[in-house]
Symmetry: C2
């Protein structure tokens, strides 16, 4: 089994060099030069790190069988040699979101906001891995951390993807979002 639990370490070390670092909504993170990703959930901060986020990959929460099969046919894994550009986007949703029933969240997520359909337009160019933080049970600052990587040629497509998602009804439920862009150190 591949690891499900990951730490995202912001500081002076790591293969990802930060090129842009800004809040989209809510409180900022303390600025850092580099990001490292490693397996595990240890909450202790290693030397050279200023903060860490943690999350676990999990089962799909909204995708239907057809949507899941379609994504699996087309999507690429993280870590392709040409994927020298990265983005880390942690998000926290509102209490109102989490109080919705499953069918209400699905309705906003896909029938209204077309989250899966929008993402599918950028496959396989943009690779993505979603990590859940909310059910770690501790006081995590975000509910999700999504990590993306892509080739330089698709950097503007990535901007289109992010802008399309932020324009949806689903994003009315996003109360905190931070946006880190990176390039892989040679």
């Amino acid at each position: 089994m591949p690891p499900r639990a990951f730490r995202f370490l912001g500081g002076t070390h790591g293969p990802w060099v930060v090129t842009s670092f800004r809040p989209f909504r809510g409180e900022a993170l303390p600025p850092v030069e580099r990001i490292a990703v490693e397996p595990g959930l240890d909450p202790s901060l290693p030397e050279g790190s200023r903060w860490l986020l943690r999350g676990v990959t999990s089962n799909e929460r909204y995708a239907t069988k057809a949507e899941k099969a379609s994504m699996q046919r087309v999507q690429a894994p993280l870590g392709r040699p040409e994927a020298t550009h990265g983005a880390m986007i942690p998000i926290r949703k509102s209490a109102a979101w989490w109080a919705l029933a499953q069918d209400e969240r699905r309705e906003v997520f896909e029938e209204t906001s077309r989250h899966i359909a929008i993402g599918a337009n950028y496959l396989p160019a943009i690779a993505r891995r979603l990590h859940h933080c909310r059910d770690l049970g501790s006081d995590e600052p975000f509910d999700f951390v999504t990590w993306f990587d892509f080739a330089s040629a698709h950097a503007s497509a990535f901007e289109d993807l992010v802008a399309a998602l932020r324009a949806t009804r689903e994003w009315d439920f996003v109360e905190r979002e931070f946006d880190v862009r990176m390039v892989r150190a040679v």
Copy 2:
């Protein structure tokens, strides 16, 4: 906000006296005399405890708006004075379950197995709190811990509830289940 994270401590201490302790499917837990429940996720075993399970309450994963509203109208909280009987049932589902898409899991859970509808037949007599373990990200032995309490008069209704759920198609995906019954120490 009420706490979302709980530890279930099996050992020689705690208000719940074990009256029945047996595996329903898969590996047993080491036998204990008492169970205590407390907030938190600390993995270290206190003196007098032989094992601990951990879990967090979370958003609904399958219930529709109508189902959720209907449950919320009728259900009782844990801890009613007359609820002197308790049950703790940790469950692990199979990899095949977790590989299903959301609509496939909902189909098995409710359209086929009537999990919510069966439970609703026992409200408000049987109070229930579901704790998720799988997305703690560590190597938890179970995916869920469900805690129930009820008055002595409803003990046989509780047996009916458990038997009805275990007869469903959903239970084909349960690969480990343990069953602890308790009474509250006076």
